[in-house]
Amino acid sequence: MGFDIRKFFFRKPNIALEGGEDDANAFVPEKAAIKCEKCKTLILSDDLSANGKVCAKCGYHFKMGARERIRYISDEGEFEELFADVTAGNRLDFPDYDDKLEKARAASGENEAVVCGEAKIGGINAVCFAMEPKFMMGSMGAAAGEKITRAFEYAAEKKLPVIGFALSGGARMQEGIISLMQMAKTSGAVLRHSQAGGLYISVLTDPTTGGVSASFAFEADIIIAEPAALIGFAGPRVIEQTIRQKLPAGFQRAEFLLGKGFVDAIVDRRNLKNTLSFLLSLHEEKTAKETNDEEAAV
């Protein structure tokens, strides 16, 4: 092969508390074959996509785009996008931000770092949102915050559960205090949805850090993590710089958080749809008639 595959896969950890949006590696490039980052097996791109972007040999979970994620867990053709017109603007006239937004849009094919909509999962309607790694590593600014807030408000009004895929380097620095305020805005909407009796399942994916982990990502009724996902408040690089020592292996990974009691379960992406379907059906409000009909059918 004429290209050096290593330059695609040997990445240094580059996740800061806020930002880290330049970490554009770790994605599956548009190539016919990809080497697994963990076990180094060469995998055909088509095989990888067919397997939910999970290495069939070692189970390594590659990053997944927002739209692809929602499609992966939704019933065939059962996803209707919502709030697609909400987009970011450079409110603070922050240097180079317009340019970054343009590049993020080109790289991801998305308007913003979050995709929202109503989907059917195992036949049950749910509001879903997912964050886009190729859009400034899912950083949260006003538009992302607005979309997530609207998603919870919509779900509360329609009495629907919410499934959210968190993936973020944190708050979007280029929007300054406005991005910080999105943490409170989204949290308020999560609370209202919860007080209305709504179920919210948060799926933490690699990476979930900064202002997103410290707001809606950790405010769910059920928190699921993908295997080996990096989850924390401060990013590992920032911590290492602060404490001037190496972090232990596995620190801030999903398995570590499970052990510390901060996530409910770790679920392999290939089992996620089934798990979500089960949890949704368990929480589905049934009328007395439906319950009777089901019992009669058994």
Binding site: A16, L17, E18, G19, G20, R91, L92, F94, P95, D96, G141, A142, A143, G145, E146, T149, A171, R172, M173, E175, G176, I177, I178, S179, L180, M181, Q182, M183, A184, K185, S187, G188, V190, L191, R192, Q195, T209, G210, G211, S213, A214, S215, F216, A217, F218, E219, I231, G232, F233, A234, V238, I239, T242, I243, L247, F251, Q252, K260, G261, F262
Partner: protein
């Protein structure tokens, strides 16, 4: 104060010798009685909490304390709270809600503590829980930024009905140095980052992140007296509101940003 640049203000907000939270508590409240611990893990000395009175009316007070002397700074962990600090604050906010007394927070932190133990004990979860709980707390909350309002660690005590700020304080998603180092790949460009982040009091007011900019007047007796009267008046006004309206307005306060 307009003659100072954003970066000069940012440096001033972190300057040694400016009054810290315990000073505000001493000057503004009467009969402060400190309440310790989160009842789960420990007592975080970066967060000072207690009950007190303002003009004879009960209030719950919470302040992030940076410390003044070197010893005190170490004791207070330089005002960088661990999860148990936020959980202590939340415990006492819940208590305030039960007894229908208002909550007064003094915010002064470079950010939540960044370290192995803080992560192990769920820093993100602790901050998230505070923010969400404050968004629904059925009692008035006022947060005053008295120095540095650093990111999520500050917001964890500032999801309030109003946020006030003293004129040489800052409130930002990240420090100018951190922003310069990450975005401009050069921490020496902090001056530029401070301008770009719009972290000073007048900019924050324009963006709707704070309601009131407080003149400092050298932090003399008059400054504290005036602030005390303003806080008392604020709580008096909010106490007339139904809790539903109070919480709905708090929601709207954040809902319209962005």
């Amino acid at each position: 104060m307009s003659e100072l640049t954003a970066y000069e203000i940012s440096k001033k907000s972190r300057e040694k010798g400016r009054p810290t939270a315990v000073k505000y508590i001493e000057k503004i409240t009467e009969n402060f009685f400190e309440l310790h611990g989160d009842r789960k893990f420990g007592d975080d000395k970066s967060v000072v909490c207690g009950v007190a009175e303002i003009h004879g009316k009960p209030v719950t007070v919470i302040g992030i304390e940076k410390g003044d002397s070197t010893n005190e700074k170490v004791l207070r962990n330089f005002g960088c709270a661990h999860p148990e600090g936020y959980r202590k604050a939340l415990r006492l906010m819940r208590q305030a809600e039960k007894f229908r007394r208002p909550v007064l927070c003094f915010v002064d932190t470079s950010g939540a503590f960044c370290g192995i133990d803080a992560e192990e004990r769920g820093q993100a979860e602790a901050i998230a829980d505070n923010i969400m709980s404050m968004m629904g707390l059925k009692t008035p909350i006022l947060s005053v930024v008295i120095g540095e309002g650093g990111s999520g660690g500050a917001l964890a005590l500032a999801a309030a009905d109003e946020v006030w700020i003293t004129e040489t304080s800052t409130y930002s998603v990240i420090s100018p140095e951190g922003c310069a180092s990450i975005l401009f790949k050069d921490s020496a460009r902090a001056k530029e980052a401070a301008e770009a982040l719009k972290m000073t009091a007048p900019d924050l007011k324009e963006l709707g992140a704070v309601e009131k900019v407080i003149a400092e007047d050298g932090f003399g007796e008059e400054f504290f007296e005036k602030l005390k009267d303003d806080i008392a008046a604020f709580f008096e006004e909010k106490s007339k509101m139904s809790t539903d309206e109070l919480v709905a307005r708090r929601y709207d306060r954040f809902r319209r940003i962005g």
